[in-house]
Symmetry: C2
Subunit: 126 residues, 2 copies
DNA sequence: AAATTTATTGCAATTAAGTTGCATTAACAA
DNA sequence: TTGTTAATGCAACTTAATTGCAATAAATTT
C-alpha cells in the first residue's frame, strides 16, 4: 500500500532527493532528519514512496539500504533496473544509465538482475 | 589472517561445501551445525576460509551473507568475480559461469562489480 | 464549521544477522 | 611432555530495520 495522505513527512523526504540526484541511504536519512522525523517514519515513508514508483531501492556491498529517485515508474510499472555505482573512496552512490546485458543461462529464467559496481567516482578520480 | 591450525571445525564446514556445489548462507550453516559448532565459530571459520581463497562470499537481495567454493583462488590471487543466481521460488543460490561485461563509465574507474541474478532455477522452472 | 474516520506518526520495545571480549581448550612445535 | 598461542564456546553487544500501540492529524462526511 502506497501513500494516501499528503503529509509534511513525505514533503521533507522528497526534498532530500530533489536536492541532488545521488542515492541516499536510509540510515543517512534517519541521521540527517533526526529531531525532525522519527526513524520509524523515515523507513515507512521510504517504503511507501517505493511502492508508488517514486523511489527505488537497492543494497550496497555492506547490505545497507539505499534509495534513489525513479525516472518514469508508477505503482504498476516499476522498472528501475539499472546498475548502481558506489565510490570506494567517498562512499557516494548513484544510478548509472549504462545498459548491461545479462546473457541467458541454460534452464533458468531470469526475472531481474541487480548490478553494483564499485570503484572511484568522478570527484575522487584525481 | 587465515587458517593456521587444522581443526575439526574447519573439516566440518568444508564438508558442507563439498556435499553439493551450491552456495550456502552463513545463517543456514549456523542452523545446520547447531549443537555441533558454535555460531561464532562458524562465522570465524568462514571468514578465514575466505581469506585463504578457499571460499568466496557475497550478499543476496536481503543482505544475507552467502559462501561458495572458489575455483582456483589463493590467498594472494582472490578473483572469484562472477554473477550469482538466486531462485525466487526455492531460494537456492549458485555461482554462474557466464561472463558479463560491464561497459566503461565516463570519468569513473571500475574496480569490481557484483551481479546478482534472480529468477527461476533449473529445478523450479517446470 | 464540527464531527467522524482512519492513515500517519512517535515512542519504546523487539528482531535478527553478525561481531566482540574473554576465559578455556587444544593444535602442534620444541 | 611441556609451553605457546590459535581456536573455540559462551554471553554480551552492535546495528539496521521492524513491530505494537496509543496519540495525532489528514481528509471525507455531515
Ligand atoms: Mn537507481
Ligand atoms: Mn560464486
Ligand atoms: Zn567518490
Ligand atoms: Zn529453485
Amino acid at each position: 500500500m502506497g501513500i494516501i495522505r499528503k503529509t509534511p513527512s513525505i514533503e521533507v523526504l522528497l526534498t532530500e532527493f530533489t536536492r541532488n540526484g545521488t542515492a541516499i541511504s536510509a540510515i543517512e536519512l534517519v541521521k540527517r532528519l533526526d529531531g525532525k522525523l522519527n526513524k520509524t517514519t523515515v523507513y515507512r515513508v521510504l517504503d511507501k514512496l517505493e511502492d508508488d514508483g517514486i523511489l527505488h531501492s537497492f543494497l550496497d556491498k555492506k547490505g545497507i539500504k539505499w534509495y534513489a529517485k525513479c525516472n518514469s515508474c508508477t505503482h504498476d510499472k516499476h522498472f528501475d533496473s539499472h546498475p548502481h555505482f558506489q565510490c570506494l573512496n567517498c562512499g557516494k552512490v548513484d544510478c548509472v544509465t549504462v545498459d548491461v546485458s545479462i546473457p541467458k543461462i541454460p534452464n533458468r529464467e531470469i526475472v531481474i538482475s541487480q548490478i553494483l559496481i564499485q570503484g572511484t567516482c568522478e570527484n575522487c578520480i584525481n
